[in-house]
Amino acid sequence: MAHFPKPAEGSWTEHYPEIGTEPVDYSDSIDPAFYELERKAIFQRTWLNVGRVERLPRTGSYFTKELDAAGTSVVVVKDKAGEIRAFHNICRHRGNKLVWNDYPREETSGSFRQFTCKYHGWRYDLDGSLSFVQQESEFFDLDKDAFGLVPVRCEIWEGFVFVNLDDDAEPLDDYLGTFGAGLKGYPFHEMTEVATYRADIGSNWKLFIDAFMEFYHAPVLHAKQSVSDESQKLQGFGFEALHYQLEGPHSMVSSWGGMSPPKDLSMVKPIERVLRSGLFGPWERPIEIDYPPAVNPARSPVWGEDSFLFFPNFMLLLWAPNWYLTYHYWPTSYNTHTFECSLYFVPSRTARERVAHELALTSFKEYSLQDGNTLEATQSMIETRTVTEFPLNDQEIALRHLHRTARAYVADHLATHETPVDVRA
């Protein structure tokens, strides 16, 4: 029996008839050729979030981002006018990677007055223009204006910095659509105490999104994280979301409140009772928020958390105790990706608040280790092709939508960009 109302069609999935209810083919997660198409069709054409504006506090602040899936590295910088710009991370002289430290493939960040190439000392202003060429007179009619850094489209939404390698792509606000508009005004800028985690995961990038866009697994895989009475209760109930929504390539799931704060203190772990905190964050809200309309779309009094997936690989989770979390999944091959998670809190005023945050951070890490390792187990068996189609349930609607969206982008790319080889020629 449903604990929360579903759409009139009888299920969330059937509310969106175009996505079907049949088992889903997971070839898209095990095929190297499909991944190569995803790189062109998705990662070179969609808006990719590369971080927050707080990482660029002053003129000359920069960070690099390795975009393996899109086939480039970008450097993002705040210029003298205060504008945030992105460039391909390559020197125009002979192609050296422009910004890196010690290890060319590792990301870096910091602050400088201008770009200086390590190789031959070419320099570029923060707006990308070429300002200095070593032994310029040795070159042949070098027009410095024609050798600025190669720009990458860069736009900001609510303090989140996005890049897009497609010069013809729609503006960021249009791409983020209903969800992007409906989240405007959330006080992301007040939540600046951040911790970031990174892991190399042995699975296709979509499989980890799958894991975090459904909570069907939570009462089972994470059973031991609750005290045993609570765990049995949770498994008995299973999981039902408050609300699901699909908007263009994006999706969201809205969940009830977990245990924050718990009704019964005997149901939480001893350290949670002392710190008044847990996986769902500190029990006390640091600030009150007048939520923008996309938050808690069911307007449920027991709302606890919203997960938004901005296609392809950026997830934004807003928690009822008024903090947020981001996930990024950066593919490195068809069956590997780099997973990044950042947790953002209103800055602690006291040690008590900071230790409460530490418990949320630690809890997150424990859960993620369970999730991440399970993915490798899944990937290895899907790759056997023993079974190729999988029955996704109504609580897995966002997964169905994600895989369908990826296939649609690839199909569209093949139809419009790949010219069939003319064998007669």
């Binding site: 900071r354 424990e366 280790l369």
Partner: protein
């Protein structure tokens, strides 16, 4: 030289092992410890945690790094959080079924 404030002298035996600035070091220490060692630390510190928070709350959080004793006590709190999962939940240092997988903290809060 004591590492902790006088009021927490009873926790001094744990300080050299667990007063650690960085999360990766705390986590590595957890993985390298026996359950008996972590249980002993947990049993001694959990009943004192509320006292420790009250003591630390006399400080402005940003000033804690300037006071070595207070800073060590705060780091000891973080270590207690780190070992609470093995002690309260897993009954082993490592997350069950997590195999060789690792997740690394690459950015930490300032304090």
């Amino acid at each position: 030289m004591p590492m902790l404030p006088d009021a927490f002298a009873d926790l001094e035996p744990f300080a050299p092992t667990w007063c650690l600035k960085d999360e990766p070091d705390r986590y590595a220490t957890r993985l390298a410890s026996t359950m008996d060692e972590m249980q002993t630390f947990y049993d001694a510190f959990l009943p004192r945690l509320e006292d420790a928070l009250s003591w630390l709350d006399r400080y402005d959080l940003d000033d804690i790094p300037d006071d070595e004793l207070a800073q060590n006590l705060l780091w000891l709190c973080y270590s207690l959080v780190c070992v609470s999962f093995p002690v309260e939940v897993w009954r082993q240092p490592r997350v069950p079924d997590s195999g060789a997988s690792m997740i690394h903290q690459i950015v930490a809060p300032a304090v």
